[in-house]
């Protein structure tokens, strides 16, 4: 169907196009802002800065054990769009959507409660932190990595501590170009082939959204914490977080497409605390 429009109509249509364009921009930006605010609210910026020189030997500590379960309906990710026949690589098609266990994309972390409630980032700078700097926590992996396999970032969500370097090995027999424009950390690793590894160091807490220039459907999220009290549940939703010094905290369950869940917890000096979270 082809529609020829005269000059008067052209102006009207141009205005319509502009309006649609602006609407799209406004809507999506609004969605991104809302999402960003939600995520920012959840970030561990509210935790007190941990002092590296803290002596942990005498501090009573325990851990939080429990399960996390996703009850809410998670909006499915959009399918990858594959327009043209691929001119390189072994596969003729973009990967078909594979079932994802979304519970593995949940991040659990602590916020420190203060007399005024949960401490904000600004308040946290003034809090006399007495938390251990390096508990025997869940992330013993020396250098965490996000692999590129079958046009997918694995894992999709990676929590790390500030100062950590993340590897991005390419496991696909074609190029990837990993990049991020997030204000927390922007980088562009360029194009590199299978078997090669690039890495990025993250020094600032916040959310880093990672994409691939070549495969626009690929995405990952890195949560950069300025403390070590975070973990990811296993595929059954079970998690262990700790050891944690005794005190009052808020345990947060975070998923990028769900409203976060918070639960106040009081950690004793020895007994593990059992917590079940439902998102």
């Amino acid at each position: 169907m082809k529609v020829q429009i005269d000059s008067r109509g052209r102006n009207a249509l141009l205005s319509t196009l502009l309006a649609i364009f602006n609407l799209c921009l406004a809507w999506t930006w609004l969605a991104e802002v809302v999402s960003s605010n939600l995520s920012t609210e959840l970030l561990p910026w509210s935790l007190p800065a941990v002092r590296a020189e803290t002596n942990t030997a005498h501090m009573p500590a325990s851990e939080i054990r429990g399960t996390v379960r996703i009850q809410s309906r998670i909006q499915p990710k959009s399918m990858a769009i594959s327009i043209y026949s691929r001119r390189s690589g072994p596969s003729a098609n973009a990967p078909a959507p594979s079932p994802v266990n979304e519970v593995e994309n949940v991040v659990l972390y602590l916020e420190k409660n203060t007399h005024h409630g949960v401490s904000s980032f600004a308040e946290s700078q003034a809090v006399d932190a007495t938390l251990p700097a390096t508990p025997a926590t869940v992330h013993s992996q020396p250098r965490p990595s996000i692999r590129q396999i079958n046009e997918t970032f694995l894992p999709h969500v990676l929590p790390i501590k500030t100062g950590t370097s993340v590897e991005f090995p390419n496991g696909d027999p074609f190029f990837h170009n990993v990049f991020s424009l997030s204000s927390t950390k922007s980088f562009d690793l360029g194009r590199y082939p299978q078997g090669q590894i690039r890495w990025v160091r993250f020094d600032k807490p916040g959310i880093v959204k990672v994409f691939c220039h070549i495969h626009s459907h690929m995405s990952a999220v890195i949560l950069v914490f300025d403390h070590p009290y975070f973990t990811v549940p296993n595929n059954k939703g079970e998690f262990v977080l700790g050891p944690i010094p005794q005190g009052s905290y808020t345990l947060v369950g975070w998923h990028e497409r769900l409203k976060p869940v918070r639960q106040h917890v009081s950690v004793g000096d020895h007994e593990p605390l059992a917590v079940n979270l439902v998102l």
């Binding site: 052209r10 319509t16 990858a80």
Partner: protein
């Protein structure tokens, strides 16, 4: 009448968006929709050495593209593309040179991928021509510049819906009104580029076993003159291609095509005893891609010729482009593209009807090129504002060798926004 057209136009646009809602609700992650919106302006007709003159012309262009992806079963995949576009600055004798156009189905096909040990896919419907390389990255977020390569955009003197009486009338087309710049593309049945953004209807088989790739299609129109299903002039023809990825990031490819290109409207005016099928376009193309780290290089060349009624030789043209892109930072990249097209010289002095060269025009047609050789250099700067929003600007130097009007430079700026339609339609 205008109101009716406006309503019809808006319905075309809303059709694309509205029907996606139930589809998203029902299909979940087996479906995906992506929107691409771009808006730009061009300042064209700029003479050499001057930023602008009263003759320079500013045009506004914009388009909205909706892409849909459907995984019907594990081996069955569907794709859809619709567009609404507004283009200006295409002044000339052809009415399509300035228009707002809604095309509900630019592409729509089904792809079947059987589970075979060797890579193979079958595709049927309306899809982008498998000839050449640039079509795979002609979307504004993939094209680092604003213009398209000359071999895809410069319209030659070869028409699809006019039959020249002989060399004399063919040569007159060299001075026809034409777009004063090449940022805006025309499609349809008028003056033909060497390769058009062809979305023919047909079937294609393709695959990429190991480091090789191949594709072969039987379609209903030539690479220069795309025709939609149902338009007169469609003729079965073939397009093929293949390539080899020497090392990751370095690929050599080739393409071939042959078939009729004239529109069906000229059928009654063809020389006696001939048919549309006697007048064909043949083309062979080569392409190279090299990418490493933050550097990308693309080159593509084509040798093509057209067989026209009343012209006793195949009219050949060859062209190429070389495109370089470098990403300087996560947000900033630059690109440049050098293009050239060369046209054949005529070997015929008189038309079959006996017309001899006019003393006022050419002393002889022999040795005269049927169109002016042309070259173009475009360079540009791109900034990624977010991973979905990109701003680009570019400047294009165009020169016709021996051309009468040197005012051919153009400046352009463009804003491109890519978004997941699902996120627009869902409450996050």
């Amino acid at each position: 009448m205008l109101r009716f057209k406006l309503v019809k136009f808006l319905l075309t646009l809303s059709f694309d968006l509205v029907w996606t809602v139930p589809a998203l609700l029902w299909a979940g992650e087996r479906i995906g929709f992506e929107g691409i919106a771009d808006l730009g302006f061009t300042r064209s007709g700029i003479p050499y050495g001057a930023p602008s003159t009263p003759d320079s012309q500013t045009n506004v262009n914009g388009q909205f593209i909706l892409l849909g992806s459907f995984q019907i079963t594990g081996s069955l995949y569907g794709f859809y593309e619709g567009r609404v576009s507004h283009q200006e600055g295409l002044e000339g004798s052809d009415p399509r040179l300035q228009q707002t156009q809604g095309t509900p189905v630019v592409q729509g096909y089904i792809r079947y991928t059987p589970k075979l040990p060797w890579s193979l896919a079958l595709q049927a419907g309306k899809f982008g021509t498998p000839f050449g390389e640039f079509l795979t990255r002609n979307y504004p977020q993939d094209n680092p510049l604003i213009g398209a390569p000359l071999i895809y955009s410069y319209q030659t003197t070869v028409p699809a819906n006019i039959i020249p009486y002989g060399p004399e009338s063919l040569l007159k087309y060299r001075y026809r009104p034409r777009a004063s710049q090449t940022y805006n593309l025309g499609t349809g049945g008028g003056w033909l580029p060497l390769i058009n953004y062809a979305y023919p209807t047909g079937v294609m088989v393709y695959g990429n076993p190991r480091t090789f790739d191949y594709r072969f299609a039987v379609v209903n129109s030539s690479i220069a003159n795309p025709l939609d299903l149902g338009e007169p002039g469609q003729r079965i023809q073939w397009v093929g291609g293949g390539g080899c990825t020497i090392v990751p990031g370095f690929r050599l490819g080739t393409s071939l095509a042959e078939g009729p290109f004239l529109s069906g409207s000229v059928g009654p005016r063809l020389p006696p005893g001939t048919s549309l099928r006697d007048y064909t376009q043949r083309a062979i193309g080569f392409d190279v891609q090299y990418t490493l780290h933050h550097f990308e290089a693309y080159a593509e060349g084509i040798f093509t010729n057209f067989n026209l009624p009343n012209i006793n030789q195949r009219l050949g043209a060859s062209g190429y482009y070389l495109e370089l892109k470098y990403t300087w930072s996560p947000r900033v990249f630059t690109a440049a593209r050098w293009n050239q097209i060369f046209f054949d010289r005529l070997r015929q002095d008189a038309s079959p009807s006996g017309n001899s060269p006019s003393p006022d025009n050419e002393a002889s047609y022999v040795g005269v090129r049927f169109d002016q050789n042309i070259n173009s250099l475009e360079f540009g700067l791109g900034i990624r504002i977010t991973h979905r929003l990109m701003a680009k600007t570019s400047y294009q130097f165009n020169r016709s060798v021996g051309g009468a009007d040197p005012k051919d430079n153009a400046f352009a700026a463009q804003l491109v926004y890519v978004f997941d339609v699902s996120n627009l339609l869902r409450i996050r």
